[in-house]
Amino acid sequence: MGDDRNPKALRATLSSHSARNRADEAEAVHVSIKSDRDIIFARQKGKELASRLGFSNTDLTLIATAISELARNIVLYAKTGEVYLKTVKQGERRGLSVVASDEGQGIPDLQRALQDGYSTSHSLGLGLPGVRRLMDEFEINSELNRGTTVSVKKWVP
């Protein structure tokens, strides 16, 4: 019986090891945002990475939607920029970090930009406040004529 148990335990460690290695291989992805097509690519990549962390389907959709909003803002207001996706760890917690950054015009009034309904493009003004609700952590830095960086995270429940 003891002989039986040991190989099993060993197999379990081996497989969990290789699973971790596989996840490590591509735990960061960088997508350059130059046109609306890159928005689709960025959210697909985000979904791929997040699904490996074991997020539920609902969470995957929330994450993909958030990436879409951030990448759309880059295309609309800064023309080009970058989206960095990576898996993160904090103690036992694992999560996905999304950083959307550009060197565009920046946001003059951050307080207002984070309010529902504020838009300079006659849109709905739901992107930024919506992303805040979709993700667990939200941080935004913007400097006039320098650019904007939005960093968000979602943790696997």
Partner: protein, 128 residues
């Protein structure tokens, strides 16, 4: 990828197959608005079952298309919004106000049939 549009009786059915680029959305809008006139369609069904993400841009564009279709004298109904997508839309704060939705294609057709019945009755009533 272009969205195929099928004519079924008095209705047009547009089945979105995969994530749409802006170009695809514009093409869909122009095609629907034109076809409604050409084929004298009374209703339009846009099937989004295959969409795994609907962001604020896609939603706003679909809403605009629905309003344009109404201005052309037809009704539009969006069918097949997935449960996860519905959840994300609510979180985002998107309401899709003034746009009809139905569970699936079948329900969408029933919805349009009902609408056509109503407007038919209304017209008869006015005629009297």
């Amino acid at each position: 990828m272009e969205v195929p549009i099928l004519k079924q009786g008095p209705y047009l059915i547009a089945s979105i197959q995969s994530a749409l680029s802006d170009e695809d959305l514009v093409q869909l809008r122009d095609a629907l608005v034109a076809q409604v006139g050409k084929l004298r369609s009374r209703g339009v069904i846009v099937d989004v079952t295959a969409l795994d993400v609907m962001d604020s841009f896609a939603t706003r564009t679909l809403r605009d298309i629905a309003h344009m279709i109404r201005l052309r004298g037809a009704e539009m109904v969006i069918v097949g919004i997935q449960p996860e997508v519905a959840f994300a839309l609510v979180r985002l704060g998107l309401k899709l106000e003034g746009v009809a939705t139905a569970l699936d294609l079948e329900e969408g057709i029933l919805y349009l049939n009902r609408k056509m019945g109503e407007s038919g009755k209304e017209m008869k009533h006015r005629g009297r």
